[in-house]
């Protein structure tokens, strides 16, 4: 028990500087949170789009990695919209918090279709991948059309 308590003290001494670094002294900012998520998603969406459009050669393994990352990051997004609208420079429309059910449905559609894309991408069937990429892009657009400023 004593050893475990020592371990905990050690954990605190570790965790505190780690957290201080992670936040750079500023408070948790939901706008920065969700923009971080979308930046990562955009980063990984771009090479998939380029492969689908034939602007770069299809690399099935690379595509599958990007698809998995998009699906993984999609799951963290909702937390950045909780208890809004939030202060800060944002392209999020206030309609998000006026129609929370519809927004949640559209977010869920993106999460589901991107998860499906990640799964199909592992199979390596080019036609299926292209079809599912379209479906996923549609869920992006559906939400942006209604809830993101142009």
């Amino acid at each position: 028990m004593k050893r475990f308590q020592q371990a905990l003290v050690f954990a605190f001494s570790l965790a505190i500087p780690v957290l201080a670094l992670a936040h750079n002294g500023d408070h948790a900012d939901p706008v920065r949170y969700r923009q971080s998520g979308y930046y990562l998603i955009g980063w990984h969406f771009a090479p998939m789009a380029a492969m689908i459009k034939g602007e770069r050669p299809m690399d099935a393994k690379d595509f599958a990695t990007h698809a998995q990352f998009v699906a993984d990051i999609a799951r963290v997004l909702p937390e950045g919209f909780a208890n809004g609208p939030h202060k800060g420079k944002t392209d999020a429309k206030p309609e998000i918090w006026k129609n929370p059910g519809d927004f949640a449905d559209k977010m869920k559609a993106f999460q589901e279709q991107s998860a499906q894309l990640a799964q199909i991408a592992q199979g390596g069937d080019a036609a299926q991948i292209k079809g599912q990429f379209i479906k996923t892009a549609e869920t992006c657009k559906a939400c942006h059309d209604d809830y993101r400023k142009d």
Copy 2:
């Protein structure tokens, strides 16, 4: 075949505005990429640390979700360090690209320990969770000590 071509044209018309939105007109920025990842990780690390420290009640389900998100985002980080050092305001030390093998090992340790934390968190054993949280925080600190400016 004609139908498939039409579908592709449709995909392009969808994907292009989506990508344009995602990038806000700026080029892909590895510094912003990795800082986005660490911001999300810090966001989800904080409530776990608070639960471990007893600053907030332990909620096993909530803890497990945060642990899974940290593990998921950890996997995307390496791409933000590829082909560096990069221009921009960054706390990343140039030593990262002088010792790529050691940096990769430390990154891998974080990925592995955070994945282990996500798995153990699902089991709900408080002592195991605390122990694995310490191990994970150690991998954060090990990399920050050597490769992040204070």
